[in-house]
């Protein structure tokens, strides 16, 4: 208790110096803590984003821009290799083309349903024809909100037996706008194709969907221009992408992942994590150096006192403990002040992203300062141990 009281009084005696060191440490710690919180927030957000991004991978011909790209396709022989890739839960090839037949099809608005009015149809535009593998029971379509499931509102979806049949399912809005129903036929290059089902995705339902083999035959395009792969795990997406690249190089195909689609979000967060981690290391290192330097300067200033104490019988251990307690008390005071500063720095937006302050930030501050105090004490304590009272007092 005596040594604790004496250490505390020593700090109070040199109030100006103590306050200066505490404030300096608190600023360093506050910066470090705010970066720590930023790091934690960014990592959490990245995890949340990654979870939402999903496992989808889209492969298209290089430079592909949808219907405007004409007849660009990826060859079927290469596509077949995708089915053998590891970590792939689903491969869905599709072939998108524009309707080319002798029927003036009108696109319908998404608001139409089977019971709604037909007079709201929009003027003639390109109607997309999508060839899908009929053996995939729940195909995915890509829309403005990401992947969409096809829901049958009338009729049936394809079965594997329909792979080479001249059948189709059509979007609900298209059906209404053109008075089409189950059993209706539409001409494609002189080939009548029958409607066996009407679907809805809630958004994009102006398309004609047929078995991919039919589209390939009708349009003489032996391949696909859009392949959706689903990885078995979000952590395997990059591995699958690398494997895809062994089949299609960058001159042949574009490979898009959900990560690259949301690239700006991802890169901002990754940058925030990286920057905050570096910042944290730097500020905590500076904090440790400040503690070491402060201790060392105090010790040099009190060298005579150390010599006297040793001369009158104080053990090295006791002197070291005294300085150690002084350091710890300063560090604890800095932890309190540093926590407050970290909250201010975060609230004032000094960190790069909207950072959430965790309730245990104070405990983190205490923990960090105790560890830094211990580490930073090593050199000064080693120095105290080597002080010779005879030499010190002779030089004084």
């Amino acid at each position: 208790m005596d040594i604790f009281k004496r250490s505390f009084l020593n700090l109070l005696r040199a109030a100006g110096r103590t306050i200066t060191v505490v404030v300096l440490l608190a600023v360093c710690l506050g910066l470090g803590l705010s970066m720590f919180e930023e790091n934690a927030t960014a990592a959490s957000q990245l995890g949340a984003v990654s979870g939402k991004l999903g496992t989808g991978i889209i492969v298209t011909p290089a430079g592909y821009a949808g219907l405007a790209s004409g007849d660009a396709i990826l060859p079927q022989s290469a596509i077949a290799k995708l089915n053998g890739l590891a970590h792939v839960a689903l491969v869905q090839s599709s072939l998108l083309a524009s309707y080319a037949g002798n029927v003036n099809l009108k696109a319908g608005s998404p608001a139409h349903n089977l019971n709604g009015p037909a007079e709201k149809a929009t003027p003639v535009q390109d109607i997309g024809v999508l060839g899908l593998d009929p053996s995939v029971a729940n195909p995915l379509l890509i829309g403005p909100n990401g992947y969409m499931k096809v829901t049958m509102v009338n009729g049936t979806y394809f079965t594997a037996a329909d792979a080479n049949s001249d059948v189709m399912i059509i979007g609900q809005a298209l059906a209404v706008a053109n008075h089409l129903e189950i059993g209706s036929t539409i001409d494609f290059y002189g080939v009548p194709v029958q409607v066996i089902g009407i679907y809805s995705t809630g958004v994009t339902d102006n398309r004609i969907i047929m078995p991919i083999a039919i589209v390939q035959r009708l349009y003489k395009l032996p391949g696909a221009n859009n392949i959706i792969l689903v990885a078995d795990n979000v952590n395997n997406v990059n591995t699958v992408v690398q494997e895809i690249r062994t089949i299609f190089d960058s001159n042949t195909a574009d490979v898009l992942t959900a990560t690259s689609v949301y690239d700006s979000i991802h890169s901002d967060l990754v940058n925030a994590i990286s920057a905050s981690k570096s910042g944290m290391i730097v500020t905590f290192t500076v904090t440790a150096l400040v503690i070491s330097l402060a201790m060392f300067l105090v010790m040099r200033q009190r060298m005579r006192e150390i010599g006297i104490l040793k001369a009158i019988g104080a053990s090295t251990r006791r002197i070291e403990l005294g300085f150690g307690i002084e350091t710890l008390l300063m560090c604890l005071a800095s932890a309190v002040l540093g926590t407050g500063l970290a909250v201010i720095f975060v609230r004032k937006g000094l960190v790069g992203i909207d950072t959430i302050i965790s309730p245990d930030i104070f405990l983190v501050a205490i923990g960090v300062m105790v560890v830094l105090a211990l580490i930073s004490s090593i050199v000064p304590i080693w120095y105290i141990a080597r002080v010779s009272p005879a030499e010190v007092l002779r030089n004084e």
């Binding site: 005579r304 009158i312 104080a314 009272p389």
Partner: protein
């Protein structure tokens, strides 16, 4: 007076290696000090007086030779034994007093007792007694060293040296920073400690101080001119 020797040194030497030369601070010193005596070690600056005192007080370690103080082989003690020796066996008085400036006189006197773990109340009582013993008033106890005269500071230093009741008092030029009259008073105070059975070893270059001692040893260039036996 007790005739038993309290300090025995045989062929005691201390060397310091500087960059260019080997400095012989002490060279082959032989001596015996009796208990309860005041011994003055006289010599010019650099003669080795302080080195000898530092060795006896275990503030330094000899390069060779033996040194036994009150049956303790001081040349070989270290660690806890060394600390206990300085706490209990010897008390130091320095030319520059070396009081802790931010402690009061009383707190300076209490310090060695605090290091020993003496009860708070007991050490306060003893400190007050020692203050009186060295001729100071109670009011001096609450003053910091900067508010005391040189003589008063040296008295406080002597009181501090006596805190743990050591058998040896080592005083290195205790009157060096004092005027003649005050210096005389201090030497008289130190001599009075021998009446309590303590051995007082004083390093000085003053003939007047040496004249008050029971025994005077002359040191020149690390050697004792008039060794040894009392």
């Amino acid at each position: 007076m007790n005739e038993e020797p309290i300090v025995v040194a045989h062929d005691l030497s201390r060397y310091y290696q500087t960059r260019e030369v080997l400095v012989e601070a002490l060279n082959g010193v032989n001596l015996r000090f009796q208990k309860g005596r005041m011994i003055a070690i006289r010599g010019a600056s650099g003669s080795g007086k302080t080195t000898l005192l530092n060795l006896i007080g275990a503030l330094d370690r000899p390069s060779s030779g033996s040194l036994v103080v009150d049956d303790i082989d001081v040349a070989r003690i270290h660690g806890r034994d060394e600390v206990n020796y300085r706490l209990h066996k010897v008390g130091f008085v320095f030319q520059s007093y070396y009081l802790i400036p931010h402690l009061t006189a009383l707190e300076n006197i209490i310090l060695p007792m605090e290091l020993c773990g003496v009860n708070t109340e007991k050490r306060k009582i003893r400190a007050c007694e020692l203050l009186q013993r060295v001729g100071l008033e109670k009011t001096h106890g609450s003053r910091k060293p900067s508010h005391l005269s040189g003589g008063e500071q040296q008295r406080v230093a002597i009181a501090r040296a006596l805190a743990n009741n050591p058998s040896i008092i080592i005083a290195d030029e205790p009157t060096g920073n004092l005027d003649t009259r005050t210096g005389t008073l201090i030497i008289d105070l130190l001599y009075s400690l021998t009446e309590e059975g303590r051995t007082v070893i004083v390093a000085t270059h003053s003939a007047e101080v040496a004249a008050k001692a029971d025994m005077v040893l002359e040191m020149v260039d690390g050697h004792l001119l008039n060794p040894v036996e009392v």
